[in-house]
Symmetry: C2
């Protein structure tokens, strides 16, 4: 059976081809392609056809069982993937805010986006602009909001202010650079040294980075001089690494600054001197976009996604660096599975690589 | 010359007997008793006679030169001491808000309170109720406000809420227990093990402590059970120790809690797991009462000191555990110096001992 043979109506059942796990484990071991029967949708439900979905590190952790959000296990197992964009292809009679043709992103945890079709209550979906690419739309739920909220919610930044971040080449890091640039905020970007450092620095500068610094140089006097020459104290630090790196960026923060932690790639704990906390009045806190999503109003979410779509349309926020894996209509199940596993192996490789995105014809 | 021979009028110069240092160093080496001539006060100044002044750890650090606030060095050197209570004995013609007989505490940094008399612009002093003991008044500037602000400004605590603190036997810790008790807040109090632990725990319970726990037991399952049985998540942690102790109390915090650091007695840095920051939405910040003093309005300060005086008068906030060292009118300079040095040596001994308070006849 190929994708083309699926029926797209409310009064017929639909088959979804999905990457499913029946238990926790290494994704390569526990995930496999399954054909799921989606029954006729209910009155408050929509049927959506996925257009694109990335493989994020947290998707992998979720399947491993080491993430605070667990997969939604049902009789047949749980569909992997939390992020993606889909098009509404059918809507129940009582659906109010969505119509056929709308683009939507998940507005609930563990939606299951690595599949061709899904039925969902309309309130578990967020409508999104169709005037952006499906790559941008499929990656707008997690990383751009993380960057956007961290730049908005912790320190009242104004034009000319300076922030610092580590893991600056991550998808969030790229979004931080671009959104900050659009808002007139200077960014100090810390990345680990690597053979192609100059090339990476060049790419980050092209995105709008003010400074790009090697993690190894964080404590150098020359770095302190560079930072000083920006003319404003560093008011916000964004940390997805932990350990020495977090400590290093904390040392460059000015008085009353905040350090926001949203990841811990080094698996090292956060270590801070007591003095700076007391005498420089630093704050350290965490940010988890899933919590924000849960707690924010529909209105606040719509405002943010409209704003992000504007940034994308205005050319301020580019698609993340990515590889695309196409699930073609003509692919048989074995091919679909093989293609997914290849993308998965690339997604699981070390931090800072290109995002792996599955697209559906 | 004895204290009794001092002249107490605006149109005469006055002699103050003061503990003065001419440079940074170990207080016992650099401090010595000096007679300072206080010229006729200016129109906007008052002349005050000190009643009592404690020797705080930060006073010692200040003289050593390792504290962010430095002594006020003048030609003759700098008078030690930051906290104390004094009585207004003369007021210049343009003084508006103070009159002879008022009690005042310093409202500026590095006032120099280890002396018998001082002249000061009225705006560098805060008027305080005379209906409390001079011991309470002399120790009301630093520790009770630290406890009061930390309980008020970081988490919106309500009756029945639970907080945790280490160094619970410190002067701030004692104030925290009592103010929390007065406000209906439960306290988990962590102290290091010691030969007289039971006696100390008993003293803390008498002040109003809900639980008293040994630092060594912080990670025990039994402790987790005790905390759970309080029926509410721990919403605030107060840390003056750092290192393992801070990490231990952080593990007992509930979701959305704050850890406020106001000291670092262990000289170990703060270490936190990344996960709790992100997934439990913890916040860590510092508190320094000197910054609060600098930034708060006169009105806010007056409100707080009135509130603290009410707590003292109501019997909710006792004098800190202390030893009194009396500077008598009949003492000669050598005796005054010797008495001070004895109190200083006790003040410099390990953390958690009784507060050393100098009183002036």
């Amino acid at each position: 059976m190929t994708l083309s043979s699926l029926k797209l109506a409310t009064n017929y059942s639909t088959i979804s081809k999905a990457m499913v796990c029946e238990k926790h484990g290494q994704p390569k071991d526990v995930l496999r392609l399954k054909e799921l029967t989606i029954p006729k949708i209910k009155d408050d439900e929509v049927l959506v056809k996925f257009l694109a979905a990335p493989i994020n590190p947290s998707d992998i952790n979720q399947i491993e069982g080491v993430y605070p959000i667990k997969p939604r296990f049902k009789k047949y197992g749980a569909v992997g993937g939390n992020e993606g964009v889909a098009e509404v292809v059918a809507a129940g009679n009582k659906v109010k805010n969505l119509t056929v043709g709308d683009w939507v992103i998940p507005d609930t945890k563990a939606f299951g986006t690595w599949q061709t079709f899904a039925a969902s209550p309309e309130n578990e979906l967020q409508k999104i602009s169709k005037n952006i690419s499906k790559i941008s739309a499929s990656t707008i739920s997690v990383n751009p909001p993380t960057a956007y909220r961290m730049l908005k919610d912790f320190v009242n930044l104004k034009k000319g202010d300076v922030i610092i971040q580590n893991g600056a080449n991550s998808a969030v890091g790229q979004a931080v650079i671009q959104i900050a640039k659009a808002w007139g905020i200077k960014t100090i970007n810390v990345v680990r040294d690597r053979p192609n450092f100059d090339e990476l620095a060049d790419q980050l500068h092209k995105l709008g980075a003010t400074l790009v610094i090697k993690e190894e140089d964080l404590r150098a006097n020359s770095t302190r001089e560079l930072v000083k020459n920006l003319g404003s104290p560093v008011r916000l630090g964004l940390n997805c690494v932990g350990g020495k790196s977090a400590n290093g960026i904390t040392r460059l923060l000015g008085h009353n600054a905040s350090l926001v932690t949203y990841g811990g790639m080094s698996k090292q704990p956060l270590t801070f001197g007591t003095g700076p906390f007391i005498f420089k009045n630093l704050k350290a806190c965490g940010f988890w976009v899933s919590r924000w999503n849960k707690e924010a109003s529909k209105k606040d979410k719509q405002y943010m996604f409209d704003d992000l779509c504007e940034l994308i349309r205005g050319g301020y926020l580019a698609e993340p660096w990515h590889d695309e894996t196409k699930w073609e209509l003509s692919d048989d199940n074995k091919t679909l599975n093989r293609k997914f596993m290849k993308a998965l192996s690339k997604a699981g490789a070390s931090f800072g690589n290109k995002k792996q995105i599955l697209t559906f014809e």
